[in-house]
């Protein structure tokens, strides 16, 4: 099977939209910095295209490494900030570690009976790009750090290239008999954990782009679920075809929609100077086009009908149903796991996007910057519109894809038709409402009622953090949110401002990778004693080494 075109599409589409967006996004940048952005941006796109078009293993690895490097240049664009430099480093490490493992996988692939080893190397190597937990560490760091058009390209088009790699190098064998079980389960479990974990961590994030980054982890998880199911169920069609089609449709949906969302986040940042959702709010009024497009894209990505995101998930759900219907206990288990996890993920995703929309665009502005924001230049939201329109085209696109896989399309067509019916009915009801309450009657006249408070202010409103707090509390054993109260000081009659501040760090970074890195750094420092400056020690080392070599010579 050849997946090239499928993965080239997002590169072109998101690349184009991001480029349009960037022309305005960079407007405030110093003139000298812009060529740097464009250089890295184009290099990234070229390298990504190179990954897909690479004619051989070596060319693939070359393009892969180049892609990481070029995009690291994008991440480092605003390197005056420490967080950006840290993110760049983490990203570089992730890219390079991935590339190293891919080289190893390349070595192993050439051997006759090392396919599984190669697969595991590959899954970690590509997983470092895709963002399987716990290899996703770079995503929540690098996405907020990079300029929005870069994040859009990276999240929308680059991350899924990991799946492209997996499909290109491992698909021909991994869905066959002896390998299907381990490979499929690996993908499936990674996908389940990634999907649920990603969205769980997305939920309490205050930084909009960090939220989107974690939700990318979720989306990649969903794709992995689809792939895993496809591998497991390839021999029990139509499970395999359904799941694979679903996964691939989700690749495209995610690319277009997440690209649009990141661009919108960029617009917000450019117009307000912050991404902290607790300082935003009320932007739907001030940036109506951006806000509307963000809402629509989020709807699509939450997988809700009538948008295309639903169709991809529908295919995966159908695969899971089909798996449950089989007689194989492994497939039944897989099916149930997928159903439960995907449903939970869907619910959380809806919650997370509600939060993102609500906290960023709805209500009253919570800061001066948000209050003074105005709509972006036209081309910035036109870029998002472009992606949204393309994503609508994915509705027939998904049906076409399903047909390519030889699947019945009733399911999808019905979903599309009734999705359309929803839209039509909604339009009818809106018309009815307009008829019942003419425009004059709905003129906004008063502040929000708020149960009788005379002067409701934005500070009373629910912030994004407050909105997600119940769910975040429920899952705090996993999230390990840091909360601290800034108590008021002074006399109770004239208190200073008090606040409850909460942050949810990435557990994989804080709880897993950092200790490992620190451990090795400490260990290495013990070895540094060998280079203590003493000539005597140095010469002793030489003598000992020569003796060891001599012994080896005489023993061998």
């Amino acid at each position: 099977m050849n997946f090239d075109i499928l993965f080239l599409l997002p590169i072109v589409a998101v690349g184009l939209a991001a480029a349009i967006h960037a022309t305005a996004y960079l407007h405030g940048e110093a003139l000298l910095h812009r060529p740097r952005f464009w250089g890295f941006f184009l290099a990234t796109l070229v390298a990504m295209a190179g990954v897909v078009l690479a004619p051989g293993k070596i060319a693939f690895l070359l393009a892969w490494e180049a892609m990481g490097l070029a995009s690291a240049g994008l991440v480092a664009f605003e390197n005056e900030e420490k967080a950006v430099r840290k993110a760049t480093w983490i990203y570089l490490l992730a890219c390079h570690a991935g590339a190293c493992l891919l080289m190893l996988a390349g070595v192993l692939l050439g051997r006759p009976d090392a396919f599984l080893a190669a697969f595991f190397c590959g899954i970690v190597g590509f997983g470092l790009k895709i963002g399987f937990p716990p290899f996703h560490v770079w995503l929540p760091e690098a996405h907020p750090a990079a300029p929005a058009p870069a994040s859009a390209v990276m999240s929308g088009a680059m991350i899924p290239l990991g799946f492209y790699g997996l499909l290109r190098f491992f698909w021909p064998q991994c869905h066959l008999a002896p390998y299907a079980t381990p490979c499929g389960w690996t993908l499936l479990v990674l996908g389940l954990v990634g999907a649920l974990g990603g969205i769980l961590f997305a939920l309490p994030q205050a930084n909009l782009k960090r939220l989107l980054a974690f939700s990318s982890v979720e989306n990649m998880g969903v794709i992995a679920i689809g792939l895993g199911l496809a591998v497991l169920g390839w021999d029990a069609q139509p499970i395999g075809a359904l799941a694979l089609a679903g996964a691939l449709a989700h690749v495209l949906n995610h690319a277009l929609l997440k690209g649009g969302l990141f661009l919108a986040a960029g617009s917000v940042l450019r117009q307000t100077g912050t991404l902290d959702q607790d300082l935003l709010g009320g932007l739907m009024k001030r940036m109506p086009q951006t806000g509307t497009l963000f809402t629509l894209n989020a709807l699509g990505l939450a997988g809700l009908p009538p948008f295309n995101g639903f169709l991809g998930e529908l295919l995966i759900y159908s695969a899971a149903f089909a798996a449950v219907r089989t007689s194989s206990s492994a497939l039944i288990t897989a099916g149930f796991l997928v159903l439960a996890f995907l449903a939970l993920t869907g619910g959380f995703a809806a919650a997370a996007y509600c939060k993102a929309i609500g906290a960023t665009f709805l209500g009253e502005p919570r800061s001066q910057a948000a209050a003074e924001a105005v709509e972006t230049p036209r081309r910035m939201w036109l870029a998002q519109l472009l992606l949204f329109v393309l994503s609508l085209a994915m509705v027939p696109g998904t049906i076409y894809l399903a047909r390519l896989f030889g699947l019945g399309t009733d399911l999808l067509i019905a979903a599309a038709v009734f999705g359309g019916a929803t839209a039509a009915l909604a339009a009818a009801l809106i018309a009815l409402r307009r008829f019942l309450c003419p425009r004059g009657a709905v003129k906004p006249a008063c502040p929000t009622w708020d149960c009788g408070y005379a002067e409701p202010t934005a500070r009373m409103a629910y912030t994004g953090t407050a909105f997600t707090q119940p769910l975040a509390d429920l899952f705090n054993p996993i999230l390990h949110a840091r909360r601290h109260l800034i108590p008021f000081r002074g006399h109770p009659a004239t208190p200073t401002d008090a606040a409850l501040v909460g942050e949810t760090d990435d557990r994989a970074l804080a709880g897993f990778w950092r200790p490992i890195f620190t451990f090795f750094a400490r260990l290495f420092q013990q070895v540094h004693l060998l280079q203590n400056g003493s000539l005597h020690l140095y010469i002793l080392l030489i003598i000992l080494a020569v003796m060891a070599l001599l012994i080896a010579a005489f023993v061998s």
């Binding site: 060319a59 070359l62 750094a521 010469i539």
Partner: protein, 411 residues
Amino acid sequence: MNSLQSILLTLTSVLFVADLAQSFFYLPTADAREGGEHMSHGVYYACLCGFFATMVFALLAPSLPLMWVAVELTTLVSAPLIAYHRGTGSLEAMWKYLLICSIGIGLALFGTMLVMHAQTSGNATWFKAGFVFVLAGYGTKTGLAPFHTWLPDAHSEAPAPVSALLSGALLNCSFFAITRFRAVMPAEVASFCDNAMIALGVLSVAFAAIFMVRQTDYKRLLAYSSIEHMGLIVMLFALVMKLLPSADGMLRLDLADHSPVGILTLALFCHIVCHSLTKTLLFQTAGNLLLAFETRAITAVQGLGVSLKGHALLWLVGIVFICGMPPSALFLSELGLVLQAPLWMAALVLALLFIVFAAMTKVALSMTMGKPRARPVPVPRTLLIVPSLLFVLLVVSGLALSLLTVLSFAK
């Protein structure tokens, strides 16, 4: 004259010219900045030329003992160069350089005797013992761990052009000495010799990686990077020798040869040339940074991208290149090594190279990015001429080689 010899001769000559030119720009500024005593320029240039001459002598030496004489002479001629500035550090570095290298070279002499004796008697044990001493001896000058101890000191204390020449040319010359001995080894000890070289190579990369983590001195960092690359080169060479079918042990460069040996040979040559050029670029840039900031502390240099744009570019790209990232040709050679090496070795080398990458990129990022902490003393633009030329050469050749590789392996 075999391929390796001719390439090394060309490389050494190019580097000599580059460093000679850089010296013209570097020394006057350095004298003004460092203050204190320094060697007279006449002696410096005489030593530099002598250094070049002895290296050429070592590469062209007709017999093994004469080569020994030449390699020892390179030590003697280059030692005064290290102590160009008569500071405490440079004196110490020179002292260690002289003593450790001389002891190493003494071992090499002993090894040479053993090998020559073995050649007359044909005794395999003598060959083995001889090769051990030769490997230890010339390995000391090549900078193979654990014989490398002089290297970080000497490279960090010497003036930049000298460090560049030491790292780019001298290490290769002594590596060449090892290859000559390896070529005369009989078949029955060949596998031991190759294994020993692989062991030392891996150990070197490991040592370098370990010492690069949390390194605080950017010139020492580069020195350890040289150790790492010499380790890789020795490994590559050993792998080539393991696979080489012909008994004469001659390396032949053949671009159309896609057999494992052909690929590895290509990787070896590619690695030697690219490492030398990149390292020269980096050492020269490091020298300029030293002049601008008057310290080798990594923490003191920050925000080069704002304060010294040209140097930031050179430094960043140089480090990215030396880490073996595309489009550097080192990526291709390391890829070749990994693809052709035994699995355990490939995995180990990749892990170690990852550590190196992590350490070096951290330094590169913290130095080039952010806001400048200290305002650098401006350095003359002429100091950028040679590194910039090298930069262009590296980028162009890297891109061309990458393209060539992609095209020739696109099947």
